[in-house]
Subunit: 144 residues, 2 copies
Amino acid sequence: MKISTKGRYALRLMLDLAINNSGEPVRIKDIARRQGISGKYLEQIISTLNKAGFVKSIRGPQGGYRLTKDPKEYTAGMILRLTEGSLAPVACMEGDENECLRECECATIILWEKLDEAIKSVVDTITLADLVEWQMAKVNDYNI
Amino acid sequence: MKISTKGRYALRLMLDLAINNSGEPVRIKDIARRQGISGKYLEQIISTLNKAGFVKSIRGPQGGYRLTKDPKEYTAGMILRLTEGSLAPVACMEGDENECLRECECATIILWEKLDEAIKSVVDTITLADLVEWQMAKVNDYNI
DNA sequence: TTATTTCATATTAACTTAGTAGGTTTTATG
DNA sequence: CATAAAACCTACTAAGTTAATATGAAATAA
């Protein structure tokens, strides 16, 4: 019941892009340095974000990445689901494929539904803009 | 971000024990048959529940297991944490051991805290008695 | 005494995680 | 035009986890 590094790094990567939006594209190398994450691994993660249109890449020297949308347009859920896959706590909740034959008889499904709703209520309401705001507040605290 | 079979089976096992409390101890073999789960695997899971004092075992013929407490005394969280380990969505939230060095600078921790609270608010308020109640309602629906 | 049950430990195949490795393509700049 | 800096692409891998199976020992009711 853990969010893996892929999801966690994707979130920090997007947050890094949102904060370092000075005009020039942001290089993987710099994100890797700032976040203390393997650059090669970040390449793979950002590739997913790129293909989904979450970021735009500029190739060649002085290249890098930029967000395609305003930070408030990305929810944490969008980023996590893209990189982690479904956030449903059990597979039988993920649609027709994994439907459980005991579904209509098994009461635990009600627990899983409530848990699923609780998770969604957090990840689908918090946006990248919220993370930026919290990050700014943290930096302020730190500098006082 | 999934609950594994251990946790899911433990919950169904405890629910089965709560429902089949006719006085005689309940055998693993019968739970396995009713739930469609490998008996040998259930043995391992119930061993954990036994050592934690959640169930009491009676050995020998006509032996089996019984709950030690009233169903409303067990929360889903107690059962899941015992079998799954911590339900925190990220390791850096699990106490001093896994503390993240970036904690005080990284805004994502706030998201994880909110997610953790949301998960707790479900699993720590739903009891085995609730599951029994829901199960009874399901059986009624089915028989109408 | 026997059969039935729990109890204990070891093993395993398949899968996932968290990267590393090595190279190709694009393109700004000198 | 040559070079270097960046993104891009695919394959590989060590370690860990999951979801069991396998084998047998210990306890005990009949």
